[in-house]
Amino acid sequence: MSKYLSKLTSPLIAVILGLVVGAIIMLASGYDPIAGYGSMIGGIIGDSYYVGESVRTIIPYILAGLAVAFAFRTGLFNIGVEGQLIVGWLAAVWVGIAFDLPRIVHLPLAILAGAVAGALWAFIPGYLKAKFRVHEVIVSIMLNYTALYVTNYLIRNVMTDKLDKTERIADTASLRSPFFESITDFSRMHWGIVVAIICVIIMWFILERTKTGFELKAVGFNQHASEYAGMSVNKNIILSMVISGAFAGLAGAMEGLGTFGYAAVKGGFTGMGFDGIAVALLGANTAIGVVLAALLFGGLKAGALNMPLETGIPSEIVDIVIALIIFFVASSYFIRWIAARFKKGVK
């Protein structure tokens, strides 16, 4: 237990430092930080509605964070989560609309479609890296834009007749739940949270408990030694991207089947893929870490909406605070250094 506690100390200090610096910025620009944070917290857990909405916000952050973290753990930088998320979203919605099935089949099928689409989209950079040693970072950046334009085209020209969004998915494919709605006063909290938690467990399990995870991590650490030990480096690179992409696709599916219930033409990126990088890194690329980071990240983002309405403070202050927290976590050496000083001083 104390081992976990000590692991948590420096992120915790980072969070506190981030909030403090945020408060200083608010003070310096003539706002009341207590009112500011108060309204933010109100927007996160103010009442059951906000709790529900905060949970909903966190779902895609967890999954996008898992996607980035999984790739990182196996030595790859999947900056293409954004694109995989977009295609996963569309695929899930497509299945949600196109089929007429009982819920027990339809919903899992739609979720699976999202995962598969994301996985396939991530397969491309994985394959190109394995086969041609092309840097996965550029390929996935390029595929982000490609995903954006292609899905927009599909929505407008294939799934609809020049409309901006698809029709709504069938109820049998929806993650929404009257139960959650009733306890959270019509928030859009949905069953995606369960999917996200299952994925957290899956990621932990694959990496820590299976031979596949053993191989994936080994290839990430040292390709030469892995090859020597009889592992297929190429297969593992591709597999890692595919699993990562599946998580990303699921993040999109959660949006498509839960939050929105349709897919719309997008004017630009959702940003969730990039936020996923921050979540993963903040969570030290571990499954549990990602959950905690997503809680923090999603919570702050959800609460931020409330700030301008109640206090007039620009919601960007929350982005600043989040960035600072990430900074301080990254510079944990600095925090440890300060802590050591502090301890010495006390002695």
Binding site: R209, K217, F221, Y228, A229, S232
Partner: protein, 511 residues
């Protein structure tokens, strides 16, 4: 007496370990002073303190009698101290000249004056007979030349005191000879040298005095002409060491490995191994002797499945295994102690335990239905750590934190424990101390005696002569001679390795 360097009562701690404890080292002008100790004894640490990379917690350093504080390599350079590091400090994509002038570049109007620099490098290399190609890229030159570049780096900065940290561990016998010649020349020019080496023969040959440290403690300094290798070894290890590994006569039986007319191309597409024939029987150790770069690496890689061969056949127990996947070869019964333990042997970020099952993790009992059984894995690790004397805080410690010797022991434990029919050992003792070497040789001979076939590849003639039952000499990718270690001499082997075929052998022979 005049000392150029005095390190008095040096203490250096790392978190949780005292690497140097009250060590004193005094170097006279114009001498070659050996620093001797087991792996992890604290030799490199002491030298890094002298070179300004580490700050000692305690103790005093004097250069030419006056106390100094060496807080950075820059200051060491200014004091005339140069160091050739155990792991070369060369920038691979740079040219020889660029590496030498880095940090002290001659320039004209802000532009590096490469012409002048190369000229200076050429002059230096002539003066000290350190032949290098100033325009070659480091990545393209031999280890021997890389080392000469390292030496030139220190001379370019006007070093008077040179530190060599295990310079011979990576060199071929020829290169070692050259290096010894160079060191003697440097002494004649008035330089002083501190030499770290595990090879007692070298110490006896070139050094004037030797300081021994054991487990971080200074044991003392002796004059080389008043001692002998046995005394040095026991000073260093703290017990008697046997040099000649005891072994009975080999009794080879069935053919285990049979290589016929093998051709392997290197990364540039040139044949590195050609028309190679080789046979290893159960119950014998075949040593491959040869100068580095004669196709040994490519041969091993082809045998292990890490590199595709173009023609020929490789049979293991009569079954063709050529160009199979590494895993298939492993499963067919080949064990392999790789040449480069950091690159191929270990996943340094994995724990010792995980490294121990690096090839067997997917088999029972370590995993079942794709799920790992960490209890079984670490149980196995504990057994091997114990029986192979791997010194590690625990089986959960990352392999990175182990010393080279202990990393090597873990690898050997892993390979031997799989009980392969053929064990390929490539440079198994490179950079290890005499105690560790003794241990490893014993294990190899045990394998032989258990009826296994062992293929040993080494640049150390002494090792080859001591351990092998049969020596195959490789030259330009071909086995040019097979000799019996009891009937040959180092001189003869040296000649064969240099490409002069034995007259009476009359061409190529099959083994």
């Amino acid at each position: 007496m005049e000392y150029v360097i005095e390190m008095l009562n040096i203490r250096k701690e790392f978190p949780g370990i005292v690497a140097n404890d009250n060590v004193t080292l005094q170097v006279k002008k114009g001498e070659i002073h050996a620093l001797l100790g087991e792996n992890g004894a604290g030799k490199s640490t002491l030298m890094n303190v002298l070179f300004g990379l580490y700050q000692p917690e305690q103790g005093e350093i004097r250069v030419n009698g006056s106390p100094v504080k060496i807080t950075s390599p820059n200051i060491a350079n200014d004091l005339g101290i140069g160091m050739v590091h155990q792991h070369f400090m060369l920038v691979d994509p740079f040219t020889v000249t660029e590496n030498i002038i880095l940090g002290k570049e001659p320039s004209k109007a802000g532009k590096i004056d490469l012409k002048e620099a190369s000229e200076e490098v050429r002059k230096l290399s002539e003066q000290y007979q350190l032949s290098v190609d100033p325009y070659a890229k480091i990545a393209d030159i031999s280890i021997g030349m890389q080392q000469r570049v390292e030496i030139l780096k220190t001379l370019y900065r006007g070093a008077e005191i040179l530190i060599f940290d295990e310079p011979t561990a990576v060199l071929t016998p020829q290169e070692i000879k050259e290096l010894i010649y160079i060191m003697k020349a440097l002494i004649k020019e008035g330089k002083s040298i501190i030499l770290i080496t595990h090879k007692l023969k070298e110490i006896m040959e070139v050094c004037d005095r030797v300081t021994v440290i054991r487990k971080g403690q200074g044991i003392g300094t002796v004059n080389v002409n008043e001692t002998n290798p046995n005394e040095l070894a026991s000073l260093m290890v703290g017990r008697e060491v046997l040099f000649k590994t005891e072994k009975s006569k080999a009794s080879p039986t069935d053919v285990v490995l049979e290589v016929r007319e093998l051709e392997v191309k290197d990364s540039r597409g040139v044949s590195a191994v050609r028309n190679l024939d080789l046979t290893v029987r159960a119950g014998e150790i075949v040593g491959i002797a040869g100068v580095d770069g004669n196709g040994q690496s490519e041969l091993i890689e082809a045998l292990a499945g890490l590199r595709k061969s173009t023609t020929g056949s490789i049979k293991l127990n009569g079954k063709e295994i050529r160009n199979l996947k590494p895993r298939k070869i492993t499963e067919a019964g080949v064990g392999h102690i790789p040449e480069d333990r950091h690159k191929h042997g270990l996943v340094l970020d994995y724990s010792v335990g995980e490294n121990i099952v690096l090839q067997t993790y997917y088999q029972k009992p370590f995993s079942k239905a794709g799920i790992l059984n960490s209890k079984k894995i670490f149980e196995k690790a504990r057994t091997l750590i114990k029986s192979y004397d791997v010194r590690t805080p625990s089986e959960y410690t990352p392999a990175r934190a182990l010393s080279g010797g202990n990393q090597q022991k873990a690898i050997i434990g892993r390979e031997v424990d799989r009980n392969p029919d053929l064990l390929i050992a490539a440079q198994p003792t490179r950079g290890l101390d005499v105690g560790a070497i003794e241990f490893i040789h014993k294990r190899l001979i045990e394998q032989r005696d258990a009826g296994k076939a062992v293929l040993l590849i080494s640049f150390e003639l002494e090792e080859i002569m001591n351990v092998s039952d049969k020596i195959a000499v490789i030259y330009e990718g071909e086995i040019v001679a097979i000799v019996d270690p009891k009937e040959t001499t180092e001189q003869e082997l040296g000649l064969l390795m240099a490409g002069s075929k034995r007259t009476e052998a009359g061409g190529k022979q099959h083994v």
